[in-house]
Subunit: 482 residues, 2 copies
C-alpha cells in the first residue's frame, strides 16, 4: 500500500529522529510552513481548521462560564509596559518595538504586545468603579509577538495565536477560584478533546508569570520524554491593580484595590497533538478535533464514476446528515492506494472504502487510523457505526497517551536517581523539594530539568529534598521542558 | 419613561449633531472605547458580539463557496513590500515599522501588515506549481495597522480587524468571476444581515486598490449624506504573480503566470450599523446581528421575585429553546423604566414586558425598538410571535434605509446641480463622466465628492460629462465619502 506513495516514504521515522519526524509531519500534512519572516510560521488551511475546532470548543467553555470576548490594541506604549516592575522585567527582552509610523519617528516606542495585561489594565482602571461591575470576565483571541532565538513550528514561534483571559474580582478568594476554574477548562480541553492527559499544578516562583502571585499550568508529557506547558492560569493578586490603580467601591462604600487573574493557551496545542498521537505514517488526529473525521475512498476500477462513486456520494450525504465531518476523495488522478497513504499521513481517524464487491454486499469497509483494523459494516446503520468507532478511537488515543505518560513518570528518592532518569529516557520525575531556589537551580544546571508543577495534594513519601537532602516542603514534578 | 434615565438624556440628538451622537452611542452602548494608544480603539464585549455575529455569517458564506481560512505573519520585511511598485507606493506612507526586536536593532525594517498581499504572494510562489493546485481559495481573519491622522471609532482606526481573501486562478476569466462573486457576498451580508442597502460597482483608477487591475466596492449611504465604502473586491490580474513569480504549469504543460484576486471587509461594518439604524434613543440593531434579540423585563412590584420572575424565567427558557437570543434582566437595583431606556439605548430590537396583570391574562407585552409599538401576546405561541416580529423588524429597518437611500440619490445634469447637491444635503449624485482624471479631480477640489462607483450597466440619459460637458464614457455615482 505504501509502495506507491512518495509522501510516506519521505517521512523520517518517529523512532529514528523525533525532531525531524515532527517537522516532516507538520509540513507534509500541510498544517504549517516556514515563512520568509524568520521565526514566524504560516498556518495552512488544514492546520488552521484544527485550530478552529479547538478554539471554538474553548470559546464555548469560556462563554458557558460567563466570559465575554473583547479586543484590545496590538501596540502598548512603553510607559504602560513599565508600570508593573516584574512584568516589564520579564517581557521587555522579548519585545518587538515599533519606532516609526506614518512616515514619522514616534516620540514613544510602542511594544507589539507580548501579552496584554498592561493595555487591558489601563482600561479596567476606567471601567471598574463599583462592586456592581465585578466580576469582570473578559477574554481576547489575538496574535502576540515574543522575539525568540530558537523557534519550532507551532511549539515556539515569534508570533503566535492565542487567547488571553483577563478578569477582575472583588476578593482574593474569587480570584483564586477563577484561576483554578480556568485551569480546569484547559484540562478538559486537553483530556476530552485533544486526548492528551495532563498534570496540573502550581509553578515554583522561578517559573511563574512575570507579575503574578501564583501561576498554575497544565503540563503534558511528549514522546521524547520532554514536558510541554500547554496552558497557564495566573492569580495576579493586586499587583496590577496597584500598578494601574484599579479600585472599586465595595458594598461597605470603601475604596478597595481589585483582585485579578489572567490565563492563556496558544497554537502550541496543535504541536502537542502532532507529537502525542502521530506515528511513522504521519499525523493521527483525535476525532473531536479532526477537520475530516471520515474520508470515503471509492475503489476506482472499470466504470467506477458511474457505479461506485454514486454509492460513495450517498454514503457521504448520510454521514454528513448524521453530523460526521466526512469527505469524499473523488479525484481521478490518484490510485486508491495512494489516497489511503495520503489521508493516513493527514491523520484522518477513519477511512471508509467502497468498491464493487462492497456494493454487491451492501456494505462498506471501515479502517481505523490507529491500528488499521478493518471492519465490514452494512450500509444500514453505517453512520451510527462510524460515530461509534470515532468515539472509540478518541478513547483509544487518550488511553494510549495516558499509558505512555504513566510508564514514563518515575519517582526519584535520591539525586543519583534523578540524574539517571534525566540522562536516560527522561519523563516526569517526582521527588521532594525543600523549596529553595538554589536546589532548583542546581537540578537545572546538572540535568536541564525544571520544576514543571508543585503537586497538590502532595503524594506521600517525598520527605527529603532530592537535591540537598533537607526536609522537603513540597513534592514536585521535574522534567526537561519545551 | 425616559425621565428616570440618565443615559438617554446624555445622548446628543442625532438630528442636532450627527458626529457627537455617533460617538455617544458607540461609547454609551459600550460597543467600543478610546484606548491610551492614539488612534486605536478597544472593542468592548457588546461591540465584539456584534462583530462575532457578522464575522461568523461571512465565514459561513466564504466556506460555502469553497474558501478555507489560513494565517500569515503579522510582519512583512520591507523588501517584500517593495516588490510590487504600485502597492508599496500606496501603502508605505501608512506603515508602522518595527525596527528592533529581542534587544537588537534589526537589519531590515519590518512592516506591521497594512494588508497581506506581499507576504501571502511569497508563499503562493512556493505552493502553486500546477493547474491542479488551482484555484487556491484562502481567507485570513486578522488585525492590520494603517497609520491614520484622523480616526473615528470603528470607521477609521489605526488598527482594525478584518478578513482578507487571497485567491489564485488559472485564467483571467475565473479571477474576474471570483472578484464579482465575493462582491456579491458582501452585498448579501450588508442587505440581508445588516439591513443596509448597497450600491455595487467598479472604482475609477484613482480610487482603486494599490496594485489591482480593477477594484469593486459596496457603497452605503449614511444619514449625513456621506458614502461609506464597506467592502472591496480586487481583481489583481497578473500584477502580483509577476512581482512574486507565481507560475503554474498548465494542462498544456506550459508555464503561465497565475491570475489573482483579493477582497476585504472590516470592523467598520459595525460603525455602518450604528449610523444607519440608530436614533435619538441610541442604537437600533437589526435582529440578525443583535447579540440580544429580545430582552425580558419583569415588572418589579410587590413580591415580584417569587411571582413575576418565575414566569419571566419560563418565557426566557421558551425563547431560548426556540433559538431566540434572549436575555432576562432580573437586576433588582434598577426600575423597569430605567431598564427600558437602558436596553433601548443598546438597540435590542424587541422588549418583552411581564407584570402581575399580564400573568393574570397569561400574556406578555412586546414592544418594538423601531417604533415602540406594543402588542399583547398570549404565552401560548409567544416564541413564534417573537420570531415573526423579529423578522418584521429586520425587514422594516431595511425598507427604511432603502427609502432614505432612494430619497437621497439625485441626478445631476449640470455642474451647478452637482455643486448644489453637495452644498446641501449631499447624498449619492448620479451623473455622466468623460473618464478623465482632471474632471474627477476638479469635482473633488470643488465639492469634496469622489466617484464612489462606475454604474454598470449604465443608466440611460447621462451622455455628457458633468464637469467638462464632453461625451460621457460612464455614468457614475459621486458622493462625499468617509
Amino acid at each position: 500500500m505504501a509502495a506507491d506513495n512518495d509522501f510516506v516514504k519521505e517521512i523520517t521515522k518517529k523512532s529514528v529522529d523525533f525532531s525531524a519526524w515532527y517537522v516532516d509531519v507538520v509540513r507534509k500534512a500541510e498544517l504549517a510552513d516556514y515563512s520568509p519572516m524568520k521565526g514566524m510560521m504560516v498556518i495552512r488551511p488544514y492546520g488552521y481548521e484544527v485550530w478552529e475546532l479547538l478554539r471554538d470548543q474553548l470559546d464555548r467553555m469560556f462563554k458557558e462560564t460567563g466570559h465575554r470576548n473583547a479586543y484590545f490594541p496590538l501596540f502598548i506604549p512603553e510607559s504602560f509596559l513599565q508600570k508593573e516592575a516584574e512584568h516589564v522585567e520579564g517581557f521587555a527582552p522579548e519585545v518587538a518595538w515599533v519606532t516609526s509610523g506614518g512616515g514619522e519617528v514616534l516620540e514613544e516606542r510602542l511594544a507589539v504586545r507580548p501579552t496584554s495585561e498592561a493595555i487591558i489594565c489601563s482600561m479596567y482602571a476606567k471601567w471598574v468603579k463599583s462592586w456592581r461591575d465585578l466580576p469582570l470576565l473578559y477574554n481576547q483571541w489575538a496574535n502576540v509577538v515574543r522575539w525568540e532565538k530558537v523557534t519550532r513550528l507551532f511549539l515556539r514561534t515569534t508570533e503566535f495565536l492565542w487567547q488571553e483571559g483577563h478578569t477582575v474580582h472583588a476578593t482574593a478568594e474569587e480570584a483564586e477560584e477563577e484561576t483554578l476554574r480556568m485551569l480546569g477548562i484547559y484540562r478538559r480541553l486537553a483530556e476530552e478533546y485533544l486526548a492528551i492527559p495532563v498534570v496540573t499544578g502550581r509553578k515554583s516562583d522561578s517559573e511563574k508569570f512575570a507579575g503574578a502571585v501564583r501561576t498554575y499550568a497544565i503540563e503534558m508529557l511528549m514522546p521524547d520524554g520532554k514536558a510541554l506547558q500547554a496552558g497557564t492560569s495566573h492569580n495576579l493578586g493586586q499587583n496590577f491593580a496597584k500598578a494601574f490603580n484599579i479600585r472599586y467601591e465595595s458594598r461597605e462604600q470603601k475604596l478597595e484595590y481589585a483582585w485579578q487573574t489572567s490565563w492563556g493557551s496558544t497554537t502550541r496545542l496543535v504541536g502537542a497533538l502532532v507529537m502525542t498521537h502521530g506515528d511513522d505514517s504521519g499525523l493521527v488526529l483525535p476525532p473531536r478535533v479532526a477537520p475530516v473525521q471520515a474520508v470515503i475512498v471509492p475503489i476506482s476500477a472499470g466504470n467506477w464514476r458511474e457505479t461506485v462513486l454514486l454509492h460513495a456520494q450517498r454514503l457521504l450525504d448520510e454521514l454528513k446528515a448524521a453530523g460526521v465531518r466526512a469527505h469524499l476523495d473523488d479525484r481521478d488522478t490518484f490510485t486508491p492506494g495512494w489516497k489511503y497513504a495520503d489521508w493516513e499521513m493527514r491523520g484522518v481517524p477513519l477511512r471508509v472504502e467502497v468498491g464493487p464487491k462492497d456494493i454487491d454486499k451492501h456494505q462498506a469497509v471501515l479502517v481505523s487510523r490507529v491500528d488499521r483494523k478493518k471492519s465490514f459494516v452494512p450500509w444500514d446503520g453505517l453512520a451510527a457505526e462510524v460515530k461509534r468507532q470515532l468515539e472509540a478511537i478518541q478513547g483509544e488515543l487518550y488511553a494510549r497517551a495516558l499509558a505512555f505518560r504513566d510508564a514514563n513518570t518515575h519517582d526519584a528518592r535520591s539525586y543519583a536517581e534523578l540524574r539517571d532518569a534525566m540522562a536516560g529516557g527522561r519523563g516526569f520525575i517526582r521527588c521532594g523539594w525543600c523549596g529553595g531556589r538554589d536546589c532548583e537551580a542546581k537540578v537545572k544546571a546538572d540535568t536541564s530539568a525544571t520544576i514543571r508543577v508543585i503537586l497538590d495534594p502532595p503524594p506521600p513519601g517525598f520527605d527529603a529534598c532530592v537535591a540537598c537532602g533537607g526536609k522537603a516542603a513540597h513534592a514536585v514534578l521535574f522534567a526537561k521542558s519545551y
